[in-house]
Amino acid sequence: MGSFFLEPFLEFEFLRRAALEAVILGFGFSVVGLVLVTRRLSLIGDTLSHAMLPGVVLAFTVFGPHLLALFFGGWITGFLLLVLAWALFRTRRVEADAALALFAVFSVSVGILIASRTRTTTEILHLLFGNILAVDRTLLMLSAVVAGLTWILFLWHYRAVFMALVDPAFFQQMKRPSYFFILGLCALFAANLTVGFASLGAMMTVGLLIVPSLVGRSLGKSPLQMALIAFAFSAVISVLGVLVSFHLAVPSGPAIVCLACAGLALIQVFRFRRFFGPEVDLS
């Protein structure tokens, strides 16, 4: 047992960092995922990831392969995209997902055009596809700050977030949020996704974002419970996933996401049994 669970972590610092990074990501993601899953925007992460290309390419051409520069490039692009999509959604002509998709495809094509005119290398792909085993101290700190800010904002405005998600029409009528608040929210969302991409990669970020939140939703009885359960689930899965990937010599991101999906499936099977069992409440 000890040789499976402890020794790899004692021996290799990069494993400790990878597991820690995944746990920190899961902390921030538990809040972001809650919003995305309940607002039916689950695939927004995937959309945003591709849409960050122009910012990342530009940052790379100007500053070279500096992680911070690439992060800010991606973050600013993601932020602008969210704001534009929100503005279009507000006109009520287009649904939120369609608005996002529209700006995302535009952004990706701009990104590819810019990339074709500059000498791009694998460093950009590194940010888009990530490698959690290569996480460094800067990225760890950055992720911790982003996740911490996310939770502070969540707890501070808990009731408002709650109402905005349960009954959006009522929320809009009673408390029209200020533009400043919306911009802050977009910036925080984009930051969470960007640190995710930098360490886990685009596709796997969506996995760590959505799967724990689905677990939280099926077990939690309030948004706070939902977020806490999602975080606990993703923390356990992250550590296990890093271990499994080490022992089997497979990539960590997909290992984490596969484990998460298996965990979700297991929980649903147990819930199904209860659902079809004798304690069905027909009232």
Partner: protein
């Protein structure tokens, strides 16, 4: 009684297409008005136009209260059933949006919340709102509307899925908050119109008449 709504030659419609001409009138608090008319006559448009000023195409419509003093029950409420939320949490969170100091509120208003919940929602107070039936959702929304102590109530077929005995209790709750509020209801069932009382606004051929 204080003036809440003043209509003067107001015209309502969607996308610049006129649907309804509103007769001139001044509505005051303490009054209850019931909109009647065939399906599609414009009852819901009348109610919606008080929350969505875009629907007022011409003329003058002056509302002397801000949006957060309006309690509205739409015909088909759209909650997110994706979010786990119990009936009690729903009410507490709704109220704390309107009134600051959420913590003080929980203790002060606890009694009032439980009183409103007794009108047919007591057994459901710990239930998730996604598990409520159509009638229970209507009762929940009405309970919230009453707790909000709004100045203007816009109720679009608020009892359509509620059973007889509970209907009476809900009407009693509405009676209690009537002195300080203007209540406008859209109803179509004769028995309901009689039970609710109030003055009638008939909507016919794109016009309202008192």
């Amino acid at each position: 009684m204080t003036e809440i709504l003043r209509d003067h030659g107001a015209k309502l419609g969607y996308d610049r297409r006129k649907v309804l001409s509103i007769s001139d009138h001044i509505y005051r608090s303490g009054e209850r008005w019931v909109l009647i008319g065939a399906n599609g006559a414009g009852k819901s448009t009348f109610l919606r136009s008080l929350l969505e000023p875009d629907l007022v195409l011409g003329g003058e419509r002056r509302l002397s209260i801000p949006a957060h003093e309006i309690a509205s029950i739409p015909q088909s409420p759209r909650f997110s059933h994706q979010m786990p939320c119990s009936v009690e949490d729903f009410l507490i969170a709704s109220l704390s949006l309107v009134l600051p100091h959420a913590r003080a509120l929980e203790t002060d208003r606890e009694e009032e919340i439980s009183r409103v919940l007794r009108a047919g929602l007591w057994e459901q107070r710990m239930k998730m709102i996604s598990a409520l039936s159509g009638g229970q959702v209507q009762r929940l929304l009405l309970a919230r509307a009453i707790l909000l102590k709004a100045k203007l109530y816009l109720l679009d077929e608020p009892f359509s899925a509620v059973q007889g005995s509970a209907k009476r209790e809900l009407i009693e709750l509405l009676d209690e908050v009537l002195p300080g509020s203007l209540q406008i209801l859209a109803l179509h069932e004769a028995a309901e119109i009689e039970a609710v009382g109030g003055s009638l606004i008939r909507i016919q051929d794109g016009k309202t008449g008192h």
